[in-house]
Subunit: 158 residues, 2 copies
């Protein structure tokens, strides 16, 4: 078998260390991993939204290559399968979670928001390199998708 | 213009809050965002590696759908453009960074490791649903890519 045992052991160790530091034993491993992954996913959305947002708001000059790469990243992130993210018991009743109980009460509606974001980011990626006006127009539905999902399914920061 | 100002403002606010909590003012905003994004990216690798790793190590039964989805996620993550991740001044001289100075001293070698991972994960995604043996064989080069890159470019956890 060509697998290095050490590699997987290392991955598992990192998980354990990070999870232990964060949860202090209040959550199961699956719950902690789910929250870590969700937060990481959001951080990568934010990182790439920051690049195009600065151009949309005219704070930095438009750069077709940067805009295209960031938009492609957003589309790739939105297409990632989120299986394992929405583990029971990880809603706002848990410290550090902003995931509203509405996610679990209305999973179909929540998944529809994910489809909306995937659609908006794919369309955005197709036009982000076509000039500032085209990029701004394509960004609109992306921002609206963020907003509508957060409004329904994410609690405000405390 | 169909952009909601509030949306971008919210994204920016989240950035600021997270960054401030983490860095306590020692890093520039670009440096902090880069480190946050890199760490988030690694967390998502780990999350998906954990799913397939459990099957590779025979700790959970093989599930073709789970394996395929996780492998596709790994390939998507490996294909994400990392522009903005490797900001100067964010190597191991910074608290919390395990990015060796070798990344900046040998960027071509580091990028070659990224290409190797993208190639390995794409090949893995193509076979992960074809049965346990095929998945194990496809996983080998992925694990080897993780190991070789970490050995050269990532410092051990302290």
């Amino acid at each position: 078998m060509p697998i290095k045992g050490l590699t997987l052991l290392s991955v598992a160790s990192v998980f354990t260390l990070v999870s232990a530091a964060f949860a202090a034993g209040h959550l199961t491993q699956d719950q902690q991993r789910a929250m870590d992954a969700r937060n990481a996913h959001m951080t990568l959305y934010s990182f790439n939204l920051g690049k195009v947002g600065a151009m949309v708001q005219d704070r930095v000059p438009y750069d077709a290559d940067v805009a295209s790469a960031a938009a492609a990243n957003l589309a790739a992130l939105a297409a990632i399968d989120e299986a394992g993210y929405w583990v029971e018991g990880t809603d706002t009743s848990i410290e550090g979670s902003r995931a509203k109980p509405e996610i679990w009460a209305d999973m179909a509606g929540f998944e529809a928001e994910q489809v909306k974001l995937a659609t908006a980011t794919a369309a955005f990626a197709a036009v982000a390199g076509d000039g500032l006006d085209a990029m701004k127009a394509g960004f609109g539905p992306v921002g609206q998708s963020c907003s509508s999902c957060h409004e329904s399914y994410r609690a405000p920061r405390e």
